[in-house]
């Protein structure tokens, strides 16, 4: 089954590194990240609120988080972290699927939610993807997660399948 993508490519997105101020007035740096940033990313997931998990990720136990980080910080992945006062408070990742397309996921610590960081993270990650020459990015999101669906639409994702528990969305870069 092949995935649908919008015909038209998206505009250029901002690329990392950059600094933004969130709606609470906090300065947040958006930085490209890789396996060398593993410790600081792990710290964030260890303090992640279990209630904010979606579709089984991030995993709950530390050993499972560790395995999962091998995947999302592995070869051919693209990562951007949001850093405030030397701590990672948000993380967005692109992981290649079997078709050479990339799946996106994003996580923001509860204290930094609702302040615009998620949108900045996704846009900056897509900017990184554009600089790497990626063309096809997709994601799934739970149907009842209105905030996330609205965020992805604002960034430029289009819904490609809404027949299931999860909505599938995609963007062409």
């Amino acid at each position: 089954m092949s995935r649908d993508y919008p015909d038209e490519p998206a505009d250029e997105f901002s690329r990392p590194p950059r600094t933004v101020t969130d709606r609470e007035g906090r300065d947040v740096e958006l930085l490209s990240a890789d396996a060398t940033d593993r410790e600081s990313v792990l710290e964030m997931y260890l303090s992640f609120d279990p209630a904010d998990r979606a579709q089984g990720i991030p995993p709950a136990r530390e050993a499972a988080i560790d395995d999962w980080l091998d995947t999302i910080l592995g070869d051919e992945t693209y990562n951007v972290v949001a850093v405030n006062e030397h701590s990672v408070v948000g993380h967005a990742t692109l992981v290649p699927d079997r078709h050479g397309e990339h799946e996106l996921a994003i996580f923001v610590l509860q204290a930094f939610q609702g302040a615009g960081i998620g949108t900045e993270l996704v846009e900056t990650l897509l900017g990184l993807a554009q600089s790497a020459g990626l063309e096809k990015v997709w994601l799934t999101v739970e149907r009842w997660n209105d905030a996330a669906v609205a965020l992805y639409k604002k960034v430029g994702f289009e819904t490609t399948s809404a027949e299931s528990f999860e909505i599938e969305m995609s963007i062409r870069l």
Binding site: M1, A54, Q55, G56, I57, P59, W68, T71, I72, T93, V95, P96, D97, R98, E103, A105, T140, E163, S164, F165, E166
Partner: protein, 123 residues
């Protein structure tokens, strides 16, 4: 208990078969294995049947094996369970993407939403 186990050829459906056999060997449940084509994994019912029968003979477990007709496997499972008085439907499902997100396939979703009998999802 009379169990209707649906197997459509995904890896998780074979895992559900093994788990169901293991449990039934302890509880004495009667198991009917319903084979169906799942276009999401592009499965072949002959191949599924061969693998199911191999697993049954390896474990020495006796179960009824039958094929579901019709295009809509989810609907068939629900109506067989109801019309023949099964106590429970068991399905494997909830595949993970490379990134790790769990996604339910359309057959599992249909059965979860429409079955009048209890449903066990093994993942």
């Amino acid at each position: 208990m009379d169990i209707l186990l649906g197997v459509g050829g995904s890896e998780l459906s074979y895992y559900a078969l093994e788990e169901t056999i293991e449990r039934a060997q302890e509880t004495g449940d009667e198991v009917t294995v319903a084979l169906f084509h799942n276009e999401e994994v592009n499965s072949d019912v002959d191949e599924i049947q061969a693998r199911v029968e191999e697993t049954l003979s390896e474990t020495g477990f006796e179960a009824t094996v039958r094929r579901l007709d019709g295009e809509r496997a989810g609907s068939e499972l629900v109506s067989v369970a109801e019309s023949e008085g099964f106590d429970r439907i068991v399905l494997g499902g909830g595949e993970r993407s490379t990134l790790g997100k769990i996604q339910l396939g359309s057959i599992v979703e249909f059965v979860l939403l429409n079955a009048q009998t209890p449903v066990t999802l093994i993942r």
